[in-house]
């Protein structure tokens, strides 16, 4: 098990900065997701760790060893590619054996390790097939077996699930997670999908325009986004601009004042980030006590398990609230035109910089 340390990594392509002063530490055995939209520098960062892209500035250390300028074949890293990158002219077994042959292991030892690796991904009976005779999910499992059989110091995965359909994606996600846990291998996982990042990783590094926007546990990044960008990327759809009045009062531009968790944030231009799931809707008018907003339901959008309510307050503030859809025969859903009162727990609303 090795840790991976990125120190002030910069990647320039001519005048453009693809990666701009990125630092992070991945602890031994940890699975870190690099999350961000396309072009944010996450794949470039991963490829620099893998050695496929040169580093313009900064250092990369694995287990204390400086590998910044080491060629990829001397790094002992497993790399999983988006398109699997299986060798098309070799059988499944030969694909998995390749890395072991490069390490000049004996025939018997290679055979035994290949079998064990294929057993681990439940593809032993496919050993003699060619990659093109396998489904996408099977190909991905062969690619994983091939990357892991060399017992790499680090596993690097570049959007490993994006070419799979939804059902297979869930299955593969669990498989990657359990393989990673069982082997205790330090892993960097690049994805643009927040669900994927949340459910698979120990820590998420959100990237934007070549920089680290936020680095934290899945729940930190999900519940307390540090910026409007992270909030939006993590699926917060209510972003309400306003300014702080004191440490725990927030005046929305639309006029309402709401209380927020006490904080030391400064600046006039702040945004209140509020998940639609965290808004409580009551049919009855405000019962006093907790903070409420009087509002009217404009539209109810049925989405199966949930219903999205598009709501407007008296002052014209538009919000979305989300509630589980009532079971068949259960209580009535709310209708458009209905007056409601809205409230939320103080911790549910997060202040972020504009």
């Amino acid at each position: 098990m090795s840790d991976v340390v990125l120190q002030s990594i910069v990647k320039r392509y001519g005048a453009t900065l693809a990666v701009d002063n990125v630092s992070m530490t991945i602890r031994p055995g940890e699975l870190v997701a690099l999350l961000g939209p396309s072009g944010c520098g996450k794949t470039t960062t991963l490829r620099m760790v893998g050695g496929f892209v040169g580093v313009s500035e900064g250092r990369i250390r694995v287990g204390g060893r400086d590998i910044t300028h080491l060629p990829p074949h001397k790094r002992n890293m497993g790399f999983g590619f988006q398109n699997y990158a299986l060798f098309p002219h070799m059988s499944v077994a030969a694909n998995v054996a390749f890395g072991l042959e490069m390490r000049r292991l004996g025939k018997a030892e290679i055979q035994q390790k290949v079998n064990a690796a294929l057993d681990r991904v439940r593809l032993r009976s496919y050993a003699e097939r060619l990659p093109k005779q396998l489904s996408g999910g099977q190909q991905q499992r062969v690619a994983l077996a091939r990357a892991l059989v060399i017992e790499p110091d680090v596993l690097l995965l570049d959007e490993p699930l994006s070419n799979l359909d939804a059902n297979l994606r869930q299955e593969m996600k669990d498989e990657i997670r359990s393989l990673q846990r069982n082997l205790g291998i330090t892993t960097i996982f690049v994805t643009h999908d927040q669900d994927e990042a949340l459910s698979v990783s120990d820590r998420i590094v959100v990237m934007r325009q070549g920089r680290v926007e936020q680095d934290g546990t899945p729940s930190e990044v999900f519940d307390t986004p540090r910026s409007r960008f992270v909030a939006e990327f993590m699926g917060v759809s209510n972003l309400l601009p306003g300014r702080l009045e004191g440490r725990d009062r927030f005046r929305l531009h639309s006029g309402e004042a709401v209380s927020v968790a006490a904080n030391d944030n400064q600046g006039d231009q702040m945004v209140l980030a509020l998940r639609p799931e965290r808004i409580e809707i009551r049919e009855a008018p405000a019962s006093g006590g907790t903070e409420t907003l009087e509002a009217r339901i404009e539209q109810a959008v049925y989405r199966g398990l949930i219903i999205d309510y598009h709501i407007k307050t008296k002052s014209g503030l538009a919000l979305t609230a989300r509630r589980p859809a009532p079971a068949a025969g259960g209580s009535q859903a709310l209708d458009a035109g209905q007056m409601v009162s809205l409230s939320w727990q103080p911790g549910a609303a997060v202040l972020v910089a504009e």
């Binding site: 893998g50 050695g51 496929f52 060629p71 990829p72 074949h73 001397k74 790094r75 002992n76 890293m77 497993g78 790399f79 590619f81 988006q82 398109n83 990158a85 299986l86 060798f87 098309p88 002219h89 390749f98 890395g99 490069m102 390490r103 690619a143 091939r146 990357a147 060399i150 690097l156």
Partner: protein, 268 residues
Amino acid sequence: MSNAAPNSIYAGVTTLVVGFIVLPLVVIAWSSFFANPILTFPPTGYTLDWYRRAWDMDVFREGFIVSLETAAIATCFSLLLGVPASLALVRYPFFGRDAIQTLLLSPMIVPGIVGGSALFIAFIEMEAITDMQIAGTLGGLLIAHSLIALPWTVRLVTASLAGTNRSIEEAAASLGASPFTVFRRITLPSIRSGVIAAALFSFVISFIDLEKSLFLVGPGRTTLQIALVNYLEWNLDSTVAAVATVQIVIIGTLLIITDRYAKLSRVF
């Protein structure tokens, strides 16, 4: 509106074009069996004598062997130069890449006779400096023929490389393969058909060359094409037709094999 009219015009034009190409070949093959001592029409009878006669003539037999040798060695040279050059052109962005690509393809554009005479003059100049004989030697001829074959190799191999998946090479590298091992075990097998097509095509192009070789052959080192031209200057019998028919069969076979590995129509 019906497509019948345009289709029949298309079919008619195609038949005409194919006819123009195939008819002379058929006539040559046919006349190689004429019994007439001087090539005339109609044939008075049929014989296989011209084939034996051609093989018995030193110029043709030796010319055939020289041409085979030259084509085989030039093919090797063009692969040794062309495959690495193609790799560099496709894989690495470097200063002057477009210029070098054009330069490598230029022998295809310059008329053979111009290229041949230019090489001849260059060889003479080099001989004056180095005191070594180049023009009229096998070496000189090989340089010329490698040049003829190189553009085809570069074109076929770059096309084949452009279609391969770069990430399989990266995968091999991440598994511990050195750049040379990656090339040998991964890159080369995935461009195999392009390389085979390039080899076959280089061979054919070198084998059928007349113009570039014209100035560069020496005594006793004449290619088959030049032997044919020389013979035609003084003789008009079916020996030439017999030699030509053998060539047509060889080249036709190679082209058919080539086409199985790389659809030539897709490369150009």
